[in-house]
Symmetry: C2
Subunit: 273 residues, 2 copies
Amino acid sequence: MSRTPLDRLRERTARLAAPLCVGIDPNPERLPEELPRTAAGIERFARGIIEAVAEEATALKINIAFFEAFGSAGMAALERVRSDVPLDQFLILDAKRGDIGTTAERQAEALLGHLAGDAVTLSPYLGEDAIEPFLAYPGRMVYLLARTSNPNAGQLQDMVTDGVPLYRRVARWAVDRWSDPRVGLVVGATAPDELRTLRDDVPEPGFLVPGVGAQGGDMAAAVLACNGTRAPGVVNLSRAITGASRGADWADAARAAARRVRGEMQWVGATLD
Amino acid sequence: MSRTPLDRLRERTARLAAPLCVGIDPNPERLPEELPRTAAGIERFARGIIEAVAEEATALKINIAFFEAFGSAGMAALERVRSDVPLDQFLILDAKRGDIGTTAERQAEALLGHLAGDAVTLSPYLGEDAIEPFLAYPGRMVYLLARTSNPNAGQLQDMVTDGVPLYRRVARWAVDRWSDPRVGLVVGATAPDELRTLRDDVPEPGFLVPGVGAQGGDMAAAVLACNGTRAPGVVNLSRAITGASRGADWADAARAAARRVRGEMQWVGATLD
């Protein structure tokens, strides 16, 4: 396939007309009732969700910690899940890595080589040494954490440096350092004002926007933040889609929820145009 | 065993009289010539090093990315390596994780539950949400990244907030937030002035000091920074010990190097007293 992952993201965004990323965070405590709370259970759940939402989601995001918690059995399950992802999908491995030198190279091998992710999430705290080894994989994307969606995100990210909060400095640093469309930012939707401010600050990079749905973020602000960037942005929803039902209809309920959210995003996008 | 991991770290520090942490970063490109560049090769290397340095090292640090790069086979190797670590050792799993909510809980389960690490390294960028799930495991330690040892560490960590570099604000935040001796800091030795400044700023937390040895950090400054803290500090050396020879004598050479470094640390410690 000569198309790069970024090409695929662009094609899917155009075709599906909604920046929907479905996040797969298989918490054994919240699995459908019919599935065991084991590595086999989260594997069946992940594969079922991927099949159910494939036609509605522009991208998929797998939070790999839920597999890592089961050790080597969990990683073997993740390998099978990954091989089940349709070739034309765009798969983000949410790992939030950040290390240096040969360690970062081995992390990149784990996520982009062995698991063949199309994109990864990375922490910026160690500087470019933690990012470059991932960009050495042609066509893959990285999303650097700028403003996260958790309640205590501001403890560090809001520290004021040169008159602006750290997360804005991080975003500016990323844009100044890399003009590459493959470098995006993670910007939570739970603080819509900050999302808008950051979008104004740095109009270029594609955003990965978590926090809409179960975390209560602002859908319109999130969808708007995905427009007109040098790589398409995506808005991630996890539990609001994958947890739509814990009964026997869980896969159908997830598909219906994805379709509903995609429609809402299309409506918001059309209204904003 | 009623002793906690922190008790064990204290006992080993007192008994060995040197804050030596041996870092195991099994890079397949730098393995002893007799070992295959596979998951089996890094497993044999790690187990050989652990056996060789057991009597000289106060602590061991395993950089888990080198196992993750081999997927589920690498994780199975890591599980066997972990079960080989003597019960009276203190094992730091160097993973530099940082995530939120249930994801952080599953990371803690992976590293402190499933792999039964005594300590982990964590990134502070997401705030306390990323740290607390690890502290829920009694007796385990966490080391938060403050100042790392890589060439571009300063890109974020030196950003000035309220008149001081970010890494000093992070250290102060950690100390203000947790009076718990189980919360330590990662502070690289490659910038000895910064190490000393930080030690003066926050006299309380135990430091994990990388960057001595192959990275050229200052041994005396590193050893001095480990004294008198509420949990003992450790100075990590990886390649300078584990890469002492790539010939058939690699395990013996690592043992000899560990003994030499431990002696050097004892000498520095005695001189500083």
